[in-house]
């Protein structure tokens, strides 16, 4: 392990390297951005623009100061900035539909407001946005630059690939965009989006221009050496056309809706399978465990309606609420967003296949396991799904919780539990004979020190609070 002096030296952030004018570094847990001469000039023009101050104060743009002092290890540059921290980093393939939509609208709002002051973004990437709970915040301050007469919005194509097309495919075809964005770090191409849409979708707002014409033109111009942008100014292209496009995109995306029949979990929140006082007992046990010490980050795996995320929130700085059902997460996000909740971040991913490292050298986007230090993991009503539905041995289930780090509150439904019986019904007899409380407790003791145990009155649910070892 490196010593303290080494930890203080800045390291380049693996996700920030494509723009030569601006680069992000991490030192002592703080985020810094270097700017070269041109980057500094662009940033000063941006910071002077009225929209910048109002966006910072409205919390739509990440807080930014001049770095003072500048930590060691940051290369010589024209200027170093320090940004406020985002409590937990996440990526568009971990967001629900409404989250991606609201992030897109934020991006467009900032462009619209910026254009009034003669500022535009160089790119249009959904990786420019992060979350403070349910509030989206634009973090790529280095993306702003003054508009230049006759120049197009260079970020439009990227905006289509990483915002518009995923939203269109979810809204019109019910295609889960998360899988697609996870599979392709640059997003969905116009050609692929067109291939996934039906002929009747061409009549839907925005599809003909942003998808059909875009895709056909790309095919047509693929071998051309012409650079269309060179001819724009003399052909009369003005910034007003960019504004018109941004306005239309805003109307289009505001109107997109994801209509989806009930998922198998959306009726979960009535929690009828808990008898009598079981739910109260469970809540008390979980909250008491969380309250043992102040937690910086709690991760609630299989969060469903977020009830337990909210229950433990008073004892944490931040709760990351994860569920594999994107509909459930969408409902949770919309509820949190309405309340203006800024300390619970809802995410969606398959817990049996959590986000891997992606992008350049497979570290440009960090894997979910080990992404940031976690103080407490909640794994409630989850183990039977991982072990029986996903055929993961109990020792491996526990090992995954240990990978996340921190203490653990875990619930074990016994083989007699009705929910477990339901999962076993479709499995060959004997296949899950190893799914026993004895085996579970042995597996748990391999990685954790069990501090407290409770059998719920219903008899088929056991709760454990276990502390991380070493």
């Amino acid at each position: 392990m490196s010593d303290t002096a080494e930890d203080s030296r800045a390291q380049p952030d693996a996700g920030s390297f494509r723009d030569p004018l601006s680069r992000v570094y991490v030192a002592d847990g703080e985020i810094y951005r270097t700017l070269n001469e041109q980057g500094l000039a662009d940033f000063v023009a941006t910071a002077k623009a009225p929209f910048f101050k109002s966006a910072i104060q409205a919390g739509r743009l990440i807080g930014t100061r001049v770095a003072d002092p500048v930590p060691g290890g940051i290369p010589e540059s024209a200027q170093v900035l320090r940004h406020d921290l985002v409590p937990y980093v996440s990526y568009p393939y971990e967001w629900s539909f409404s989250m991606l939509r609201d992030a897109a609208l934020l991006h467009l709002d900032l462009i619209r407001d910026g254009l009034v002051d003669g500022i535009i973004t160089k790119d249009g990437s959904s990786y420019n946005v992060q979350w403070i709970g349910s509030r989206p915040v634009f973090i790529d301050v280095g993306s702003f630059e003054p508009t230049r007469d006759g120049e197009p919005w260079f970020g439009y194509r990227q905006f289509c690939r990483l915002f518009l097309y995923p939203l269109l495919l979810q809204a019109h075809r019910n295609l889960p965009f998360q899988d697609w964005l996870r599979g392709s770090v640059d997003g969905i191409t116009p050609e692929a989006c067109l291939a996934a849409l039906r002929r009747r979708d061409l009549a839907r707002r925005g599809v003909f221009s942003h998808v059909y014409v875009h895709a056909r033109l790309e095919q047509r111009l693929a071998d051309s050496d012409e650079v269309a942008a060179d001819k724009l100014k003399q052909s009369g292209f003005t910034t007003e056309l960019i504004t018109a496009n941004v306005d239309k995109l805003h109307r289009l995306i505001s109107g997109l809706r994801w209509k989806q029949a009930n998922s198998e979990w959306s009726g979960y929140s009535d929690r009828q399978h808990y008898t009598g006082d079981d739910l109260d007992q469970k809540r008390t046990f979980v909250v008491d465990a969380a309250a043992k010490q102040h937690r910086r980050i709690i991760v609630d795996l299989g969060c469903n309606d977020g009830e337990f995320s909210e229950a433990v929130l008073p004892h944490a700085d931040y709760v990351v609420a994860v569920d594999s059902d994107p509909l459930v997460v969408d409902l949770l996000y919309r509820r949190l967003s309405e309340k203006g909740e800024e300390r619970i971040l809802p995410l969606t991913m398959n817990l049996a296949d959590p986000s891997p490292g992606l992008g350049w050298r497979s570290i440009e986007r960090k894997p979910f396991l080990g992404r940031q230090p976690v103080d407490l993991v909640l794994a409630l009503a989850l183990v039977h799904h991982l072990s029986i539905s996903n055929n993961v041995p109990l020792t491996d289930v526990i090992a995954m919780f240990a990978d996340l780090g921190g203490d653990l509150v875990v619930e074990f439904p016994t083989p007699e539990d009705p929910k477990v019986q339901k999962l076993l019904r479709n499995k060959r007899a004997g296949l899950h004979d190893g799914y026993t409380r004895k085996n579970f407790e042995e597996a748990l003791a391999l990685e954790f020190d069990v501090a407290d145990t409770l059998q719920l009155d219903g008899g088929t649910r056991w709760l454990y609070f276990a502390t991380a070892r070493g």
């Binding site: 662009d42 940033f43 930014t64 056309l241």
Partner: protein, 89 residues
């Protein structure tokens, strides 16, 4: 040639044209001036007009001045004060 080094993304000619087209009539006119026959002949209905167009003139050179400088006198701006002011609510 525009200083595209400032925009690190490839503009993509198709994306440039679509942006103009989405801008309505004014944008359509821009695309026609750029060389509509090449770009628009595949479109249903209106494309036929461009297939029948006479041969385009040779493309003229771009006006190619480097574009205005970004904010002049940036080294005279007290950036720290500017950002502090933005942060104060």
């Amino acid at each position: 040639m525009y200083p595209q080094l400032f925009a690190y993304l490839d503009a993509g000619s198709a994306s440039v044209i679509v942006q103009a087209l989405v801008g309505g009539v004014a944008g359509f006119v821009v695309v026609v001036k750029m060389g509509g026959r090449r770009f628009l002949s595949f479109l249903p209905f209106v494309g036929k007009k461009f297939r029948d167009d006479p041969i385009d003139h040779e493309p003229t050179g771009s006006n190619g001045s480097a574009g205005e400088d970004a904010a002049e006198g940036s080294d005279e701006t007290d950036l720290a004060a500017l950002l502090e002011d933005a942060a104060d609510s």
